[in-house]
Subunit: 388 residues, 2 copies
């Protein structure tokens, strides 16, 4: 599969932005990405946009042409929505556009404005990612759904809240130097264990925050990059997408993520890599247990062994496989529709050498970004590599 190059990336700070609407946030991220790419704005052939709760949070659907306006892009624009995997799905839309020969330059982005909703209403908005008839209406919210998955994991494979806590501690530690992160303070295992329980066994520090933010990247074809001498050392060499039943009740297991496995197999196959070739990873850690399911589903650890690997420090910045050097969703924040694209932005900078954590992975050649929607009813995986 022909690689696509990442010419430029941009982010807004993640956090609370009470004075900015989605369009303001997206304009900022897109401007940064286009400037980083050094590509004329008029060369952009399309915009692929990820957004999840805009219809509810801002009464704004049809966001794609609006965000094209905000970005100063005069080109067709399309919104992709797969709940929390909307950003990853938008990236796949952009890749397809380039690989099918339809476009040479695609602006891919994601945006979410969430803090304008108070907590009960944002929880209700996020619950739209689950099955309304058979899950949300019964009162199952996402902390509850992931708590069920954690319980099932503990019962099937063993595991404790202490072990999960190590993941939250790691991701907060990673984020301390990330100027875009929502939380830049370290926490301890005790902080996690002493925090209020949200849905047993998960507590406040097992859960990612509610976040406003935007992310953008300029993707270009190899031909365009060569013709224009675009400096784009990082390529997307593999992309995959998996799906699963939306409702947990229809799954054969609550402690596996087959959508991630499918997406990873496809992405690795396209890139011609194996899990052991991967140097650094960004995964979808909406809850601590989600990071465990992700690193197992991506093939880095056998089912049931991810939790112990995380607890023993294998995935810290000093470990064998640094996971979520950005701080992950847990500490960097989770503006839903932007998250998948933000992972691409962070990974690009990690591999290019201009990320504050690049020194941790200075020899890294291959990174993986994993984005998941709902209780992993949707998943995307992208393999990024430094062009030799």
């Amino acid at each position: 599969m022909k690689p696509v190059r990442i010419a430029g990336v941009g982010l807004t700070p993640f956090g609370e932005h009470p004075n900015q609407t989605s369009r303001d946030l997206f304009a900022e991220a897109a401007k940064a990405a286009v400037a980083d790419a050094g590509v004329p704005r008029s060369d952009v052939d399309q915009l692929c946009l990820g957004n999840f709760v805009g219809d509810v949070a801002e009464r704004q659907g049809h966001q794609a042409p609006l965000m094209a306006d905000a970005a100063g892009i005069d080109a067709p624009a399309t919104r992709f929505e797969n709940a929390c995997a909307s950003g990853g799905t938008a990236i796949r839309g952009a890749l397809r556009a380039i690989r099918s020969g339809e476009a040479d330059v695609v602006l891919v982005g994601g945006v979410e404005k969430m803090t304008s909703l108070d907590t009960p209403h944002v929880t209700g908005a996020l619950a739209m990612a689950a099955d309304d008839l058979f899950e949300s209406r019964t009162g199952l919210t996402f902390p509850g759904a992931y708590a069920l998955m954690a319980r099932a994991y503990f019962e099937t494979y063993g595991g404790t809240h202490d072990a999960l806590a190590a993941i939250a501690v790691k991701n907060h530690a990673n984020a301390t130097v990330n100027e875009y992160a929502q939380f830049r303070s370290e926490i301890t295992v005790e902080d996690v264990l002493d925090a209020p329980t949200i849905a047993d066994p998960l507590g406040l520090y097992d859960s990612c925050p509610v976040t406003d933010g935007a992310a953008a990247a300029v993707l270009v074809s190899e031909a365009y990059a060569d013709d224009r001498s675009v400096d784009a050392p990082v390529v997307i060499s593999g992309s995959g997408q998996g799906g699963d039943s939306l409702a947990l009740q229809d799954r054969s297991s609550l402690c596996r993520a087959p959508a991630t496995e499918t997406a990873a197999a496809e992405a690795y196959d396209e890139a011609g890599v194996e899990p052991e070739d991967v140097d650094v990873v960004e995964v979808h850690d909406c809850f601590t247990i989600a990071e465990v399911l992700a690193i197992e589903g991506l093939g880095f650890y056998e089912p049931g062994s991810g939790i112990e690997a995380a607890a023993s420090g294998e995935t810290t910045m000093d470990g064998d496989l640094p996971v979520n050097l950005s701080g992950g969703l847990k500490a960097k924040g989770h503006p839903v529709g932007a998250t998948g694209v933000a992972q691409l932005v962070e990974m690009t900078r990690l591999l290019r050498g201009d990320h504050p954590r690049s020194d941790v992975v200075s020899d890294a050649q291959t990174g993986v970004a994993h984005n998941a929607g709902g209780t992993v009813a949707s998943a995307t995986v992208h393999v990024l590599q430094v062009e030799q």
Copy 2:
């Protein structure tokens, strides 16, 4: 550009379905499409889904994996949302997936459940397709927006409500034999002119109804069709998408649709056809004036001359260029996210010869389907041809 074949198509009846949710409707359309295709369900590589107001109407986001479940498809699924052009945009996603070599068989579909919202709330939901900050909040609803466009057209080119009425009369007449249409009764010019005014000059019969319904099609690669001897005589030979500023205030003209022009140019170029090669057309007539803008934007009539062409009968079933033989959005109905796919379904049947209006266009080789979002801030155009 490599053609993609339409192996099968399916629809639900359009109208009020108080006892069916979106998933029920989509299951019905998908089942019909898969049966029509004669392709094993297990061969479906992906689902591309169009939906607009599900987040608001059913509190259900993340509809793509839900609809895959409903269709009995175990494959990655993606939702595309570009307001009323969501269906057309989903078709483009499916085409890209096949053309990029990622998939051989894609189920493309659209669904909308709207009648569960009462009129003020469905009007509010539809207003999410406009700019919330600068349009919807000022009280501008879609009948109002299209009324502004009609007024601008009348002032620029001339035109009357009587002329627009001919379009409504034609589309109702076309729909009388369509078993899937919401309205199958003829109306007269007097009915249109005597109907309550919604937003001057547009009245009740200038406006499409609120509709529940679903549409689906199975698209396959040429290689797959050849290998499996799939009977798929109609191909999509061209696809295009255009974009425009979301808000009317940012447009240079209120009586042109440059997004349609862009989409048409791209689709015709891919297909290697000119407007004069087109035998039959389905356009996005959410209001009577929208049909005028569409047939001009598609290049069939010069700007300013479409209204007279329509008034004089050129686009009736007996005219030179039959437009909306299905009944269009006006009489067939407009389940928003399904509409673009429903146009593909109708056009496929018209060209295959198994549509109740196929006799009107028995020699037709080339058809065009045009889907628009908002006040044509998004547009898609597809060229369908009978394989020689």
